[in-house]
């Protein structure tokens, strides 16, 4: 479904991503792991168009999306959540998700209908799945950090993506919230048939959710493969797992 081929991105002299390769098949849950500064977030930014790669190709459903702007990539069916909470703090929880739902339905440029009454069911469905329905009227900026991270995912679901990218979905969460988020991600994959690509520091989470793992180091892909293959790889143990 998604193929990243030898992608390179540098900032001034720093090679943030230097030859990353990634394959994500339909319905798969794929994790990207690597030490801090390995280029995981940059790689996600390249896939979703926030940055343009210097070299390399990104192909989604047989289509080259390398040079598209973020909003078009979103329309192709890839949405994401952000590592650092990135929501609309002045809007309500409902409003946050509704913006995405209306954008997906192509109704955002409607000038004269009151937005309050549009896409209510779709928005509430999403809030129900992620468990934020009871807080729909709260101002997003006043939510706890954990809830804001969940809202991140809810906004990304608003566009009914085929591929959902989650950048450290459990960062900064309490153990209970983390557990709930893991359950949520599993549920999304099963119920909605979503393809999920995520990165995460916690190895327990990675090995409990992912079906395939890609390991990055210094911006380069070391290996991508199944759990056992990655676990037993010498280079990976040296670079990452061994150090844990």
């Amino acid at each position: 479904m998604l193929q990243v081929e030898a992608v390179v991105k540098s900032f001034d002299d720093f090679m943030a991503v230097n030859g990353a390769n990634l394959r994500v098949g339909k319905g798969e849950i794929v994790a990207v792991i690597g030490p801090n500064g390995a280029g995981k977030t940059t790689l996600f930014n390249l896939i979703t168009g926030q940055f343009k790669p210097d070299r390399g190709k990104i192909i989604f459903k047989e289509e080259d999306i390398t040079q598209l702007p973020p909003y078009q990539i979103c329309k192709k069916g890839i949405t994401r959540s952000f590592q650092i909470v990135n929501i609309f703090p002045r809007l309500t929880v409902f409003g946050n998700v509704q913006v995405a739902v209306l954008s997906h339905q192509g109704r955002s440029s409607n000038l004269f209908r009151p937005a309050q009454s549009l896409a209510v069911k779709e928005t509430k469905d999403i809030l129900e799945i992620v468990g934020l329905l009871d807080k729909e009227k709260n101002i997003a900026g006043s939510l706890s950090h954990g809830d804001q991270k969940i809202l991140e995912i809810a906004i990304a679901l608003g566009n009914e993506p085929e591929l959902l990218i989650l950048d450290e979905p459990t960062a900064g969460m309490s153990p209970e919230e983390t557990q709930a988020t893991i359950e949520l991600i599993k549920r999304l994959a099963q119920m909605r048939g979503l393809t999920i690509l995520f990165c995460e520091h916690d190895m327990d989470i990675v090995f409990s959710i992912a079906q395939s793992i890609m390991v990055m180091r210094h911006g380069q892909t070391i290996i991508q493969g199944g759990l056992e293959e990655v676990r037993s790889n010498k280079e990976v143990q040296e670079a990452y797992l061994g150090g844990e």
């Binding site: 979103c74 955002s108 937005a115 906004i155």
Partner: protein, 321 residues
């Protein structure tokens, strides 16, 4: 807007404004009408500044363009006045489209600087082109049709257009587009990530706002029967900006309050001293320190706990607008 709770207070204010000219002196009718005209201008600016989060620093240009378009069509052509009145906002929106097209490619201060430059270009043309625009003399003694010949009839015309514009603006701000615009203000990056073409929405916001600014310009001609190049000067644009800040730029009606405060100060304090801006300056400093969300924002903050209970359906912030 026509929710039961707000309907009667709003209606009674409207009726009060309707009968006011019958028993207050002409001078006050004029000042009120001037406040309406300038309010519409300030509200149109607030659409992009407060709700859209764009640094529209030279909004006066579109006011001036609207006014000059109407004035030129009324004096230089024999077309019916209604065409001139409609042309004002349309030409303003067109200029808004052209200037906005360049500006949305930049952000924040760069957006503001580019807009001041491009806007000043138009000011320079108006200021220098004596044979067409009258240069720094402006255009005076524009004849209005008999329907708008008296001050009172102008007053009513302005009031009605203002109310129509406010209703339209309110609808736009509560529409999906208005929501998207406010979402862009809060977080443009996230908007791109949910599939919103940020630049196109910002440009559309500018076009709508400049359309209403042009409408305000036409109303200015109706009231003053003259236009002058100062309308397009950047200092005046800054004054409108201050009206929005003072009134409360995250609220819907705040700019009206800001306009009323500034125009009242200028009219009544300006009588005693030409340094009335000194008092304005002190008020501004106090507002920035103690009411960072503006006067209207402050009132909303006070009444919020009460309003929260009333408002239904996923809206609490800026509910009363």
């Amino acid at each position: 807007m026509i929710h039961s709770k707000w309907f009667w207070p709003t209606a009674s204010i409207f009726i009060l404004l309707l009968i006011l000219p019958l028993f207050v002196p002409r001078f006050y009718v004029y000042i009120l009408a001037l406040i309406y005209v300038t309010s519409l201008l300030a509200m149109s600016l607030n659409m992009v500044v407060g709700h859209g989060g764009m640094f529209q620093f030279h909004h006066g240009v579109f006011y001036g363009v609207g006014a000059y378009t109407a004035a030129l069509m009324l004096t230089k052509t024999s077309m019916p006045m209604w065409i001139g009145f409609i042309a004002g906002p349309i030409v303003a929106a067109l200029i808004g489209l052209i200037i906005g097209w360049f500006c949305v490619r930049l952000t924040r201060l760069y957006f503001a600087m580019l807009q001041i430059s491009l806007g000043s270009l138009i000011w320079a043309i108006v200021y220098r082109w004596y044979s067409f625009t009258g240069g720094d003399d402006g255009i005076h003694g524009i004849r209005m049709p008999s329907l708008l010949s008296s001050l009172n009839s102008s007053y009513y015309f302005i009031l009605i257009i203002l109310v129509l514009c406010l209703i339209t603006m309110y609808m736009i701000l509560k529409s999906p587009f208005g929501n998207a615009l406010q979402a862009i203000r809060d977080n443009p990056q996230r908007c791109e990530a949910v599939g919103i073409n940020v630049r196109r929405y910002q440009l559309l916001g500018i076009v709508i706002a400049t359309f209403f600014a042009g409408a305000a310009g036409v109303l200015f001609v109706v009231l003053e029967r003259s236009v002058f190049a100062d309308l397009l000067f950047w200092v005046f644009s800054l004054e409108i900006f201050i009206m929005c800040l003072l009134g409360g730029w995250f609220t819907f009606l705040g700019p009206i309050l800001g306009t009323a405060i500034i125009l009242t100060l200028r009219t009544f304090v300006g009588r005693y001293t030409e340094y009335w801006t000194l008092i304005l300056g002190i008020i501004l400093i106090l507002v920035i320190f103690f009411l960072p969300e503006g006067v209207m924002g402050y009132f909303q903050e006070i009444f919020k706990p009460r309003m929260k209970g009333m408002v239904q359906g996923g809206k609490t912030i800026d509910a009363a607008g």
